[in-house]
Assembly symmetry: D2
Homo-oligomer: 294 residues x 4
Amino acid sequence: MTLHTDARRNHACLIVHGPDQPGIVAAVSALIARNEGNIVTLDQYSDNPQGGEFFQRVVFHRADLTATMPAIEADLEKTLGPLGMTWVLTDQSVPKRMAILASTSDHCLLELLWRHRRGELPVTIPMVISNHTNTAEDVRSFGIPFVHVHSQGPDKSAAEAEILKLLDGNVDFVVLARYMQILSEDFLAKIGVPVINIHHSFLPAFIGAAPYKKAKERGVKLIGATSHYVTADLDEGPIIEQDVARVDHRMTAADLQARGAYVERAVLSRAVQWHAEDRVIRHGNHTIVFSDRP
Amino acid sequence: MTLHTDARRNHACLIVHGPDQPGIVAAVSALIARNEGNIVTLDQYSDNPQGGEFFQRVVFHRADLTATMPAIEADLEKTLGPLGMTWVLTDQSVPKRMAILASTSDHCLLELLWRHRRGELPVTIPMVISNHTNTAEDVRSFGIPFVHVHSQGPDKSAAEAEILKLLDGNVDFVVLARYMQILSEDFLAKIGVPVINIHHSFLPAFIGAAPYKKAKERGVKLIGATSHYVTADLDEGPIIEQDVARVDHRMTAADLQARGAYVERAVLSRAVQWHAEDRVIRHGNHTIVFSDRP
Amino acid sequence: MTLHTDARRNHACLIVHGPDQPGIVAAVSALIARNEGNIVTLDQYSDNPQGGEFFQRVVFHRADLTATMPAIEADLEKTLGPLGMTWVLTDQSVPKRMAILASTSDHCLLELLWRHRRGELPVTIPMVISNHTNTAEDVRSFGIPFVHVHSQGPDKSAAEAEILKLLDGNVDFVVLARYMQILSEDFLAKIGVPVINIHHSFLPAFIGAAPYKKAKERGVKLIGATSHYVTADLDEGPIIEQDVARVDHRMTAADLQARGAYVERAVLSRAVQWHAEDRVIRHGNHTIVFSDRP
Amino acid sequence: MTLHTDARRNHACLIVHGPDQPGIVAAVSALIARNEGNIVTLDQYSDNPQGGEFFQRVVFHRADLTATMPAIEADLEKTLGPLGMTWVLTDQSVPKRMAILASTSDHCLLELLWRHRRGELPVTIPMVISNHTNTAEDVRSFGIPFVHVHSQGPDKSAAEAEILKLLDGNVDFVVLARYMQILSEDFLAKIGVPVINIHHSFLPAFIGAAPYKKAKERGVKLIGATSHYVTADLDEGPIIEQDVARVDHRMTAADLQARGAYVERAVLSRAVQWHAEDRVIRHGNHTIVFSDRP
């Protein structure tokens, strides 16, 4: 159900958010109709029909979209502004620019590169940045630039500054594909684009380091992975997607880690895809995910 | 996310179906807005944006719904008729009347009765009909009438006539909860309401009798269950829901059957719930299911 | 693969536990062979082949088992004692006696009673004890005694004493089927049989009260349930089984609770079955579960 | 729980198969004990305790295994021969040689190569053979030889002869990783090693070509994949592993195919791993799989 590059041509995605009130759906769909758009999918959610907040995602087709965008935007401003609604309109044929930060692990990184090559992720990948060099050849074999940013020692500020310089103006979001450096509050304040992480546990269980070791010690029967937006509070950001795998007493912490890698790559891929397709709306420390999961 | 009895008060469900064309969503939502309805959920699907068929399900809240229904229906006729669309408007506070046909097995039957008692199935159950008597006491302990219709011998016409007479005018749909009699074409022509069956295999594998035995013989590693609308073509009706469970070489056909019972009761329950909530639209031999699966 | 009552006749289950050493499997299987037993299933596990601990579960068939048990036990003592191994031999045709403690919720309680009636749980149920009366009629319709033990107010000691008196000498294990009273350390010290609980979260996430509310607040995308042996440390006992279900932003805490009930009854049922079949070995705060999961 | 290269040193796998009879487990474990082996895992299965067939898989550690193998084999012959049992003893430190046949699709192929590079598949890969050239560069980037065997036109005999010549003496089993040519009966008769296929449906549903198209037409709610040993009867060979994914009405046949690719690569990988680890025993048209699934 992912719209591939060709299929995304002349498709716009409209995200609307604001106080719930009667007639919003009618107002938005009338706006699209009078601008000659044809609605392809429409999702909406209100966290409380009485005085709650309203969220909507509409994908519509409009011939000659690029030329028409300014007029539609003006209409949106005129129509939704007085209702106190905010909105974002994006041209679905313009892929988001996604940078990947990685360390030595290749499972999440290669999965993203491979899905991208298959045409399943509507993004461009201007660069992969790693604090290690072991994946350089793999990354470049996908035709993606690889940049090594050295990050040894306790002071990460030079490395972070170098990364910020590389990203500045070049990316729409950043994915931490098992990047093993904790990003400073200062870095997050400066980066200016969403950052998506994959944590190797079913948060909020096993927050912090070495979750597979902790899982083994607690004797759980399921391990999991969690993809979330990065905030200054470590492992506490809004969760986008989670999944689990069954484990048992025979498995060592290393076995859990090996098994968990498959959960991590799947969970992160789904989160990245939904973000790239404007399916995820952040709301406080929660997400509304208008996923296409069957 | 199921709307419970109280929550369903003053909620209407509108199903719209017809040729896809620009502006339908706007027309429908404007209609709801001008009739002072507030959209709670909206799902839509077009099987082809260019000249395909369009399906929509909208649940909206309208104060004093009962009194307003005729006016809304008139507006629907006036608005959608010219567009060639068909529509059905239902008051969600009026539960559908569901009869259950059963035989000796109790797993699907009791699960439905129990979910109903929990308030999770928005139906009333005017009667359970069985060609056996073993579940009579259980059924009556839920406060549901139990009727035994004897069905021995090759000629089922008397039994079928008796069942038709019991159902006539009293039910909105019928559920075959592991009912082990094949219904005649004549019966199905006369019954006049949808009939939902649970088949004990992942159709179209193992059509016909004894699917667990066939599954054991073929050596499959998954068994399944399928809930579908009953048509004159045995096991060929539109599929509503399916699920599977893992099995292995150690399990006998009897073990598969025991394990499969848990899949059957879950699959049938979901199909019944979605049908009762007007989430299932039949289209040829397919279903569009606007499910609430997360 | 569960051995039903008839199939369990003349079947013994032998659990062996102790320091891993070469030749144990040979010693045990030779012992069974010379006592004319025929091994039906055999599971084993060593947590470290070099100096670790060894665990084995063997089910074997022996004609005229009851008369032969003392001789086999004597042989076990003579053979395994010198190796520093402990062992337990149980006649599989003797069902364990299981008491259930419940409160108002019926989903776990009825599931256990129903599986028992189907012959899927190799137990007898001498009594259900509840601090509420709402499930009395349901329980008795299964032919199981129901005892109400009043438990209001902060001092639970009288209620606990009454429960202990009811259980004393009458049960082999106790199941807390959503029993909403915290058992005192004193009670647990006196009870003398294993106690199995179902916790409504994927432990160790959301320890303590109101886990569905906490899950909603954290915005997780999966909810879970955990069955574990009860210890003096609340929610910290050895985990037997866990499972999860997917949820999304549309669901309220009440929806999570309704959805979670299905996970709870399934997880608790599996844990109870495995315990009743001597498939679970406690080892520190872990379990070795020789499950029959395909 | 997969034993990695180092961990597999001095580990042997013994497969025993023959008429079930009392004392086999004891005989085998005594044999291993007197040959100074230490049992690491033991699985067994009898398809009928009364006169059925018995299957056993034992992995044991023996210091200096290579030098001891002949003596153990002689003991096995002497011990099991008179009981009518057949057996196979393999040195687990010797990886099986696996050739992969592929066409244009890369998802199964790359998954196998990548898992192999991670050390998760205990095989060597002497070559990948394809009737297309598009994956050549990818395959060689893993350090694996790629051979293009042209296969156009109705007569496949020249291509098959070329493949047979490449494989002859060089491989222990062959994997069809979405290889889109039907192998002739003659080829299968000559190849002399097991051939594992991945079929893109949950067999026996949708046998033959274009299963995703057929699945769309039937309106199923789950799609699947099946890995099986190849026999002369197309899609009828013994099933090793299966899995499914949920789909819905919104998905086109192309969407099903894209989604199915993830099921296919997972199912084939598990089947290959279990075969490589001697966990799969063929028995008529069935398999006994002593999997390590938790």
